[in-house]
Symmetry: C2
Subunit: 462 residues, 2 copies
Amino acid sequence: MMLWLVLLLPILSVTSRSISIDHRSQSNTIADRIIELVTQGEFRGVTYNRLAALVDTIGPRLCGNESLTNAVNWVQNAMINEGLDNVHVEEVQIPHWVRGEEHARLIQPRNAKLSMLGLGNSVGTGPNGIQAPVLVVRSFDELNARCGEARNKIVVFNPQCDWQAQPIGCYGPVVGYRVGGASHAAKCGALASLSRSAASRSIDSPHTGVMEYDLTYPKIPAASLSVEHADMLDRFQQRNQSMEIFLYMEAQTLSDVVGYNLVAEVKGSTLPNETVLVSGHLDSWDVGQGALDDGGGAAISWTVLSLIHALNIRAKRTIRCVLWSCEEFGGIGGDQYFTAHQNEVPNMSIVMESDLGVFHPQGLQFQGRPEAQQIVTTISKLLTSINATQVVSGGGGEDISKWMQHGVPGASLLNDNWDYFAYHHSRGDTINVLNSTDVDLAAAVWTVYAFSIADLDSILPR
Amino acid sequence: MMLWLVLLLPILSVTSRSISIDHRSQSNTIADRIIELVTQGEFRGVTYNRLAALVDTIGPRLCGNESLTNAVNWVQNAMINEGLDNVHVEEVQIPHWVRGEEHARLIQPRNAKLSMLGLGNSVGTGPNGIQAPVLVVRSFDELNARCGEARNKIVVFNPQCDWQAQPIGCYGPVVGYRVGGASHAAKCGALASLSRSAASRSIDSPHTGVMEYDLTYPKIPAASLSVEHADMLDRFQQRNQSMEIFLYMEAQTLSDVVGYNLVAEVKGSTLPNETVLVSGHLDSWDVGQGALDDGGGAAISWTVLSLIHALNIRAKRTIRCVLWSCEEFGGIGGDQYFTAHQNEVPNMSIVMESDLGVFHPQGLQFQGRPEAQQIVTTISKLLTSINATQVVSGGGGEDISKWMQHGVPGASLLNDNWDYFAYHHSRGDTINVLNSTDVDLAAAVWTVYAFSIADLDSILPR
C-alpha cells in the first residue's frame, strides 16, 4: 500500500510519456493486484454469482415492498460475514406504490390482449375499469393541436425516435411521455393515458417506470404499451379503423414505509473521516429481476470493498459503499442520505454511482473541474491492461446528484451499454443480460478508481 | 413477354460471360419491369401494407380458429377484387387445438410468475393444476441417467446451444426437446414437461410450437418457458435450492374442423396446364401477429401474382399461388393438397415456399438436379441490380415437401434471417419485425424466379 502511495503521486506531475513508464514499472502494483484478483483470482465470477443468487432468490425489489427489505438483509448479512467495516442500515421514508392486478384489451377493431405495464405512481381505474375509444398522438404538440378530440378517450402517446441510431440518446426525448403524458392527456379531458415503451428494441415487451402527476389536472391511470402494440394502434388510426380499449388497473399508493440505505466501509488508514463513496441502488422495478437496473451497479460497488478487504489493504481515506433505497421513484434514498450527511460535503472526495449497466467497461464518466479530471485521467492508465482507460466528461447518478450540486466531483461507469434500453424496466431485466467476465472487469475499474482516489494525498480539487 | 421468351433461352446455353452481356443488353426487360414496379413503382410498400392491414385487423391465425377462416376470406376477397385468375379455396381437414387459460408460478424458493406458453397438441392439467417439485436436465441423456429422480416431478429441459454463433443452426438440435420432451419425461414418471424456448435471444419471451406424444406413455402437459426462467431454474438446482412449480393449462384438442387452402393463379399463355407453384402458409401461432411466420411468405407469394397481373403479362406456364392452411401442426394443408393434386407431379416445374423470413433477400435456396440448378443460376443474373444473385443448395418447406419427395424441384427464399428465431412463435412475431423495403425486394426475387421458370421452354429438369 505504501508503495502505491509513494509512487502514484509523483506520476501526477509528470508527462504522459513518463507516466506510462512509471506505470509499467512500479506504481501499478495494487491496481494490478486488484485486477488480477477479480479477473483471474478467487474473486473471478464472485460478483456475478452473488448477484445471480440475490436476484434469483429474492427477485425484483420494488420500493416499499418486503422483497427490498429482504434484499437489504441478505446483503447486510453477507457483508457482516465477510468482515467489512461499519456495516449498517440507515432508515429512510419511502413511498409504497402497489401495482395490483392489471390488464388491457383491444376491443375494436378486434379483441386482443394488449401488452402493458402500469406506471409507478399511477392511480388505478376503479373496479369497473375504463372502456373508451382511442386517440393516438406522436407528440405533446400533436396532442395540443387535437386536444378537443381527446375528451373521454384513452390517449396513446407514440413518440418516434431512431433508437437504432441512438440506443441511449433516445431515452431522454421519449421518457417525458411516460412521465408527463397522463397530466397532458387529463388536461384535454382524457380518461387514461398509455405510452409507447421507452425501449430501444422489443420482443413485445412493455417497459414500466415512474410517472408524475401535475396536480392541476385530474389524476388518470397511466400505463405503458409495448412498442409493437403502440405502433399497431397508430396504424389503426392511420387507416381510420375505429378503436376501443378496455383498461383495468388496481394500482394505488399506500402510506409511506420505512426503507433502508445499506452502508458498509473499508476505513481509511490515515484520513478515515475523508471519504470516497461508491454506490448503486438496491431497489428495482417489480418485473424481471432488477439485475441490470441496478443489481449490477450495487454488486460492483459491494465488490469494491470485498476486493480491498480480501487484499488486506487500506487506502488513506475511507471507501464507503452505499446501496440506495428507492431510486426508482426519484432518488428517494439518495436524497435523504444527503440531507442526513451533508456535513460531510467538505470531506467527500468523490461520489460514484453505477446505474447504467455493467457491460464491458471502457472507463469512467467524470464530472468535476479540469484539474480533477486530469488526476482521474492519470489514474486511468492503471487500467491499461484491461483496456478501460477512457475518461469522458459527464456522468453522475440520481442518488448522488445532490452531492454533485454541492460541488463534490461525481462519476459513473463508462461501459458498452448500447443494449441497455432493450431490457431496462422490463421483464427482460434478468441476470441473463449480464456477462460474468464483463461484470468482473467492471468491478475492477470501479475498485481501481475508488482505491486510487481514496489514496491520493488530497481530496479531488473542486 | 415474347422478348423475354426469345432472349432468355439462348442464355442458358452460353458461357457465363456471354450470359452477363446478354443479360445487361436485352433479356432483362421483364425482370427489370418487375423489380422497378415493386421497388419504385406503384407496388412499392404494397406487400408490407397489405400484410400489416391483414395481421393488425385479423390478428394471429391459429389452425382451427375462426380467425384463420377470416384471414382466408379477407385475402380471397382482395384477390378477386384484384382480378386474379381462378381464385378459390380447397377444403382440408385440420386439427383444432385450443390453448385456453394457462399460467405457471414458481412456488419455491420464491413466489413468482413464470413466463410460459403451452405447446400445440398438449393436453391440459385438469382444473386443479399440477404442483410438484422440479428436476432440470439439459439433455435426453441426462434425463435417462436421472430417470429415477423425475418421478412425480415437473421436468424442465434446458438444452444448451451457442445461438450467437448459430442463430439458425441451433434450432434443429434444440427443438427436439419441445417436440419430444413430454413423452421422454412421462417415460420416467414425470407429471409435466417444461422446455426452454427455442429462441436465439430473448427479452423474457416464451416461444410456443407444436409437440407430439409417443402414445406408449401417458400424455402429460407440455409448455415452454422463457430462456431466462429456464436458466433461473437451472441455477436453483445448481445451488441445491429446492423448487416447486404450479402449472395450470386448459389446453385441449377438439374435433377436427374444415380449413381452406387458398389458391389463385395467373394462367399460362401457351402451357396453362404446366405450373410453377409459389406459396407460404396463412396459419400462424396464436400469439403475436404471425407476420413473420408466415404472413410474410404468404404476402410475397400473393404479390407474385399481383405484379404479373399488374404488368399485364403472362408466362408460358401457369403461376399458382397457394396459401396453406395449418402448416404449424405439421404441414396439414400442404399434405392434403398434394394428395388431391399429385396427378400434377409431371407438370409441376417447381414448388416454392417462403417460410423462413422475408428479411433482406440474398437469392434462392434450391433443391434439384445440377442441370436445374444451372438454369436457376442463370436466372439469378436477372437480380443483379438488387444484389440478390446467390443460389445455394438446400431449401424447401414443410408444405411442399411431398412434391419434392416425388422429384419436383423445390426452392425457398434465401434472406438475411439471422434474427428469425428471436421472434418465431412468440408474441414478438409482429409486423414490426419486417421492413417494407426488404419485403419489396423479397417479392421481387420471388416474382422474377417464378416468372422466369414459368416462361422457360421446358419444365425444369428432374
